[in-house]
Symmetry: C2
Subunit: 215 residues, 2 copies
């Protein structure tokens, strides 16, 4: 759900993003994908989206640009997959068995990312980019749709357990968890605290239990 | 609460903003203030914040720049007052006697402004400006603080009527109403509908009644 997960180049853990569609984790294909993803994270951390190219990513990864084009097609598609992979690595989908815990874990992970100065800056840059460039807007839309699909399982599981009213719209509930945190980051510009995260999760849960998000 | 209330220059109603501190509504001082505010709205509608100056506003209003400096001190202070006045004119504080109605009226007014292409574009531009320019960030912070103080009376009245748990934090509840609408405008980029407004108001109310916003 979070573009903020793009790490600064010193954060090695975020380079270990899973590579979708890789069948042999230790194979050459996987190694190339890992190198390209790590290079893309480094590029995103150090310059504007507009200044990044498939060529610059390929050069940093030590692979030929045609390798990148063949596999990902375009810079936009590659960056979108990088964002999704990094988000998945930094904010795994919680599965505690309790909806309240899952929502709080999710909100706290978002809050932790948005209160990290470097990652919050990248998030703001990508959102500003999305508001001013149609191509970045496309990347971000694709990223958010994928993230939403991944985390909606929290809502589906809770509904199946009878912890939520039948027919609760996963997107509405997930957006309700994230919206207050992004509102503070982008609009009111006050620091986003752990208390804000807990409050946002509790508010979203109260609304969901009251049936507000039933379609 | 809404920078989106800055009108396109063809929207005359938004020029009729109230002028704080004016003791003689028909007097010369009031006429000058109205002309300056209208000129500032026209400037904001037609060019970037960075390209606007006290001089350009004064010239458009047909007054001397020293008149503007003497009264408002700086471009930032003037624009902040213009935003606050325009927001107050376009989104008057609802007072229906019922909290649920007040919150829905507020959310719908925000939604109407954010779904107007011209005004949504100005809102996005000011938010992008706030994320990239410390001076615009200062203007926006001052604007939001003033708007929050104005609309918090909705919460105070409801608490006094016993319609909300004692100790409910007005800022938390007001932010909960606005956050989902801004999240859609800025992050997910889906059109903000009247249904979103009603849902956001209902979600904020359910959370408030559950005591989530008690300090």
């Amino acid at each position: 759900m979070i573009p903020a997960v793009i790490a600064t180049s010193s954060c090695d853990s975020l380079r270990d993003v899973s590579v979708p569609g890789t069948t042999r984790p230790g194979g050459r294909t996987a190694r190339v994908a890992e190198a390209v993803f790590a290079a893309a994270v480094d590029e995103l951390s150090s310059r504007d989206y507009a200044d990044i190219s498939v060529e610059s990513i390929a050069a940093r990864a030590g692979v030929h640009k045609t390798t990148v084009y063949r596999r990902w097609g375009s810079k936009a598609e590659l960056i979108s997959q990088v964002l999704a992979g990094a988000a998945g690595a930094a904010i795994p989908v919680p599965d505690t068995g309790r909806l309240e815990e899952d929502l709080r874990a999710l909100a706290r992970a978002v809050q932790a990312l948005l209160s990290d100065p470097g990652r919050a800056a990248i998030t703001r840059a990508l959102i500003v980019g999305g508001l001013t460039s149609p191509e970045i807007a496309g990347v971000m839309s694709q990223f958010w749709a994928g993230r939403l699909a991944a985390i909606s399982v929290i809502v589906d599981r809770a509904t199946a357990r009878g912890q939520l009213p039948a027919g609760t719209d996963p997107a509405a509930l997930m957006h309700a968890v994230a919206a207050p945190l992004y509102y503070e980051l982008l609009v009111t510009r006050v620091p986003v605290t752990e208390r804000d995260a807990d409050r946002g999760a509790a508010a979203a849960l109260a609304a969901a239990l009251a049936g507000v998000f039933v379609d």
